[in-house]
């Protein structure tokens, strides 16, 4: 009996995780579709870019700091990139 119960549990777990996965996929698709269609209503007119044009509003406002940080964390941690390429470049890790 015990063995059967375990098998049943495993099966039901697999099923529910499949269900969850498809739910997640559906939710993701919906979110992407919604956000893409919402994008056309987002944004500013060209004459409203005063603040966005400032250097500190650039996505990478200080490339030198970013390069130095990338080098440090690439050498000391198992992750790299994400914001930009995380490729090779040094024997530091």
């Amino acid at each position: 009996m015990k063995v059967n119960k375990t098998v049943f549990k495993t099966l039901s777990l697999t099923n529910s995780s499949k269900l969850n996965a498809s739910k997640v996929k559906l939710a993701l698709l919906t979110a992407i579709t919604l956000s893409l269609s919402a994008c056309s209503s987002l944004g500013v007119e060209p004459w409203e870019r005063d603040l966005l044009a400032k250097k500190e509003m650039a996505l990478t406002s200080n490339p030198i700091d970013a390069a130095l940080d990338d080098h440090i964390y690439f050498s000391k941690e198992a992750s790299s990139g994400g914001k930009s390429f995380g490729g090779g470049g040094c024997g530091c890790n």
């Binding site: 944004g43 500190e56 000391k76 390429f85 470049g89």
Partner: protein
């Protein structure tokens, strides 16, 4: 700082160093500015330089100094050329992978020439690390049509024992009045590693003994499988940026990275312990020869109004996962707060957490000798890390910007569920690593 920027661009009373650098860069590019008339003299001034000097210093371990100079020039049709030179030097001690023991331990240097002794109760550190690296980067960016921007770049980096060559290309498409941008980039790196002492044979025992003995060289050579090895890295990055409103911009990236070749660290060993936890042997680590990393990255920038001092908030989150079983979360936040008309202060907080690689083991127990991959490198083990610091920047009278950054970085490796052996009680198996990061930057 917008005003400050304008000022810096207008700074025609440039110091001689800038003129000299512009001349040097022009000469390197083959663009003759020596024959310059008035019009070309103006062009010389269009070079914008950013420079920085960084000191990274760990308590009792590695110290690195790094200097960067980067020049950017915008040409007539919005083409942008960026060139960057980086030089860094590394000295100090680095963890060799072995665990602390109740008695002193002797290890052979990676070169095979000589030994070093780690006192009882201390984390074994190899203090032979000295390296100098020179890196050159170039990037050319230009509009390809009204809404498409293309960019190509190259990378060269050379260390005493390491050579890295890289290329990259990127395309960006703007739409929705340039409020939305989709981009795609590819990069490829080819690295060659020629470590001092050669490439150790994975799982072979570190030879410890009298390195001046006549048979030493023959015996040491038996633990080696070659002089050098290669690694290639191919990255794909897909990005989407969206302006939300006058004060806010967001970015979303997905990246896929394939690394193939020699991914093992030739300087790292793993302690082989008996059931009590006493070291019997040290074997060279072994990692898979490929790794696929993926990551998602999200960023938002918001420019607050007067009531919050016109602060610019920069918040980002990255989730990374790979086929080694590692996953990580990174949260990075910066707040740029203007102070008066010409300066700013920028607090920075970064939080990082990673899970261990499937084959990470802090040590091996003798009777369970590994047949597969194994590494005791804490950098692929479970850990959290925090960075806290601030930057202060000021625009000088001549329009040039000077800034100072000081940060504290702390790594806290944690036990991912490995049994604690009796001899290791009281030993620090997961030592904390602390570092100070100090940086001076000057833009002219």
């Amino acid at each position: 700082m917008t005003n400050l920027n304008k000022t810096s661009k207008q700074a025609n009373k440039t110091p001689n160093i800038k003129a000299a650098l512009s001349l040097a860069t022009g000469a390197l590019l083959g663009t003759s500015i020596l024959t310059a008339g008035a019009a070309q003299a103006e062009e010389v001034d269009e070079w914008q330089f950013d420079s920085a000097f960084l000191l990274y210093s760990e308590v009792d371990r590695v110290t690195a100094t790094e200097a960067i100079i980067a020049g950017t020039k915008v040409f007539e049709n919005d083409e942008i050329l960026s060139l960057k030179l980086t030089v860094d030097a590394l000295t100090g001690a680095s963890a060799n992978g072995a665990v602390a023991q109740p008695k002193a331990q002797t290890f052979t240097r990676p070169s095979g020439n000589g030994q070093y002794v780690t006192p009882a109760g201390e984390t074994p550190l190899d203090d032979t690390f000295h390296d100098t690296r020179v890196q050159l980067n170039g990037q050319w960016t230009q509009p390809l049509s009204e809404n498409i921007t293309g960019s190509v770049g190259g990378h060269f980096s050379k260390e005493y024992d390491y050579l890295s060559l890289g290329v990259n290309g990127n395309l960006a498409y703007d739409f929705n009045k340039k409020n939305s941008t989709i981009s795609m980039g590819l990069s490829y790196f080819q690295d060659t590693f020629t470590p001092e002492g050669g490439i150790p044979k994975p799982h072979s025992s570190m030879l410890v003994g009298d390195s001046s003995a006549p048979e030493w060289d023959t015996e040491f050579a038996k633990t080696r499988i070659g002089d050098s090895d290669d690694k290639s890295t191919a990255d794909i990055l897909v990005g989407f940026t969206q302006v939300i409103n006058r004060r806010m911009i967001t970015a979303f990236n997905y990246s896929y990275s394939m690394v193939d070749g020699y991914l093992t660290d030739p300087f790292k060993v793993v302690s082989v312990l008996n059931n009590d936890g006493l070291a019997q042997d040290y074997i060279y680590e072994s990692r898979p020869d490929s790794r696929v990393k993926q990551s998602t990255f999200m960023q938002a920038k918001y420019n607050f109004d007067d009531s919050l001092l016109n602060t610019v908030a920069d918040v980002s989150y990255r989730y990374m996962w790979d086929d080694w079983g590692i996953n990580s979360h990174t949260i990075d936040t910066r707040f740029t707060v203007p102070v008066g008309a010409t300066s700013y202060i920028e607090p920075h907080i970064r939080f990082y957490q990673q899970g261990a690689a499937d084959f990470y083991q802090p040590y091996i127990i003798e009777e369970q000798a590994p047949i597969g991959f194994v590494s005791a490198d804490y950098r692929i083990g479970e850990m959290t890390a925090v960075t806290v610091g601030a930057k202060y920047g000021v625009v000088l009278n001549d329009g040039n910007e000077l800034s100072f950054r000081l940060e504290y970085y702390r790594q806290t490796p944690t036990n991912a569920g490995f049994a604690e052996l009796s001899a290791l009680k009281g030993q620090d198996i997961y030592p904390v690593v602390e570092a100070l990061i100090a940086q001076v930057s000057y833009s002219f």
